[in-house]
């Protein structure tokens, strides 16, 4: 069980925060390009899911699996998107994602008047709180190597 990386996007698609813990493969492009590709993929998945859905959906896209990892997605009504990739053993972590939003993002970014919204988060306090929170998760413990 492990957490690979985490992205936070705002509603315009700029990446507010990125951190990685156990990432073994880089995407083979600059980080800027990777954020854009990730956001583009999520944006397309959102509209794909919206059209494909046979009935009306409320939450829409939740997660996807490939053979090696699982990507969890959470979007607030204001368009902030939190994306975490983990290994396949992790179940639904919707509550954890909403916790990250309400107890870390809102507390240490929105309530910090020196943090501009819609720009990459510089706050060291936010970074360390988020890092501690992720490291404290039950499924964080990295496998050997």
């Amino acid at each position: 069980m492990t957490v690979h990386n985490l992205y936070i996007f705002d509603r315009n698609g700029s990446c507010l925060h990125y951190n990685e813990w156990n990432r073994k493969k880089q995407a083979g492009m600059s980080k800027e390009q990777e954020y854009q590709l990730m956001y583009g993929m999520l944006f397309s998945i959102r509209s794909f899911v919206n059209k494909m859905s046979p009935v009306d959906s409320s939450d829409g896209f939740l997660s996807f699996n490939t053979s090696r990892y699982k990507l969890h997605y959470y979007e607030t009504a204001t368009g902030v998107k939190i994306v975490i990739t983990t290994d396949l053993g992790v179940g639904s972590i919707r509550d954890i994602l909403s916790q990250i939003y309400s107890t870390i993002y809102v507390e240490y970014v929105v309530k910090n008047p020196l943090c501009g919204l819609n720009e990459p988060i510089q706050s060291e306090l936010f970074r360390s709180k988020l890092d501690n929170y992720i490291r404290g998760l039950a499924f964080f413990s990295a496998r050997a190597g």
């Binding site: 590709l37 794909f48 990892y69």
Partner: protein, 219 residues
């Protein structure tokens, strides 16, 4: 319990087969007086609700019929524009039926090739080496299962999130594809599948899968 639809996508991202097994009806009819308490807009040649959810009518629903006569895209059956007709207070009161817009065959082609690229990006952005593309995509209303063969053909099944046994269904569809589409002497590779035996066997496989029932929330 429910399998919604099946898509077969060739290795270039083209849709070669699509079958809708079950599509729930979602219609709402209501009589309105002037002015309308919904905001309507034209989107993709359809008149859809942009704002104002009420009485089972939801944002994104399209106008299906007015006073019982079907609407053809953004025009009425007598070629008048729907929005102009609805803006005219002399036509009221009138009964409008709304519903989730059905996917047109062009939209299905578009969505299939969209998934083709999403599949590739999913594997490119992997934090672990040697990852495949998207195998399961979960939403609150359905789960999409995708199985890619070694030759690059993708079988995609949309099912209820609680539906179990999709993995074996996907392998079964692959088997049916190999037996009835590929062995058909009139079938040319990578082209749309028009083969009765393939369709019959696919339907039978879907029935078997649906009888397998739902086992909890697992895949």
């Amino acid at each position: 319990m429910v399998v919604f639809s099946v898509y077969v996508v060739n290795k270039a991202g083209g849709l070669v087969y699509q079958y809708d097994n079950y599509s729930p009806r979602s219609d709402a009819e209501k009589t309105f007086s002037f002015p309308l308490d919904l905001v309507l807009k034209v989107h993709d040649e359809r008149v859809v609700v942009a704002f104002g959810q009420r009485d089972g009518i939801r944002v994104g629903y399209a106008v299906l019929s007015i006073n019982g006569t079907d609407v053809n895209g953004r025009h009425m059956s007598d070629n008048r524009d729907v929005l102009e007709f609805l803006n005219n207070s002399f036509n009221y009161p009138l009964a409008i039926r709304f519903g989730r817009p059905r996917l047109t065959s062009n939209e299905k082609l578009m969505l299939a090739s969209m998934f083709h690229s999403l599949f590739a990006i999913g594997s490119q952005l992997s934090p672990e080496p040697g990852s495949s593309g998207i195998e399961v995509l979960e939403t609150d209303t359905f789960k999409l299962h995708c199985f890619q063969t070694l030759t690059g053909i993708k079988f995609i099944v949309l099912a209820d999130p609680r539906q179990a046994g999709i993995d074996s269904l996907l392998r079964k569809i692959y088997e049916i594809y190999s037996d009835f589409a590929l062995k058909n002497p009139f079938y040319s590779l990578e082209m749309p599948i028009r083969c009765e035996l393939f369709e019959q066997n696919l339907k039978a496989a879907l029935e078997v899968a649906e009888k397998a029932g739902t086992f909890g929330t697992g895949s």
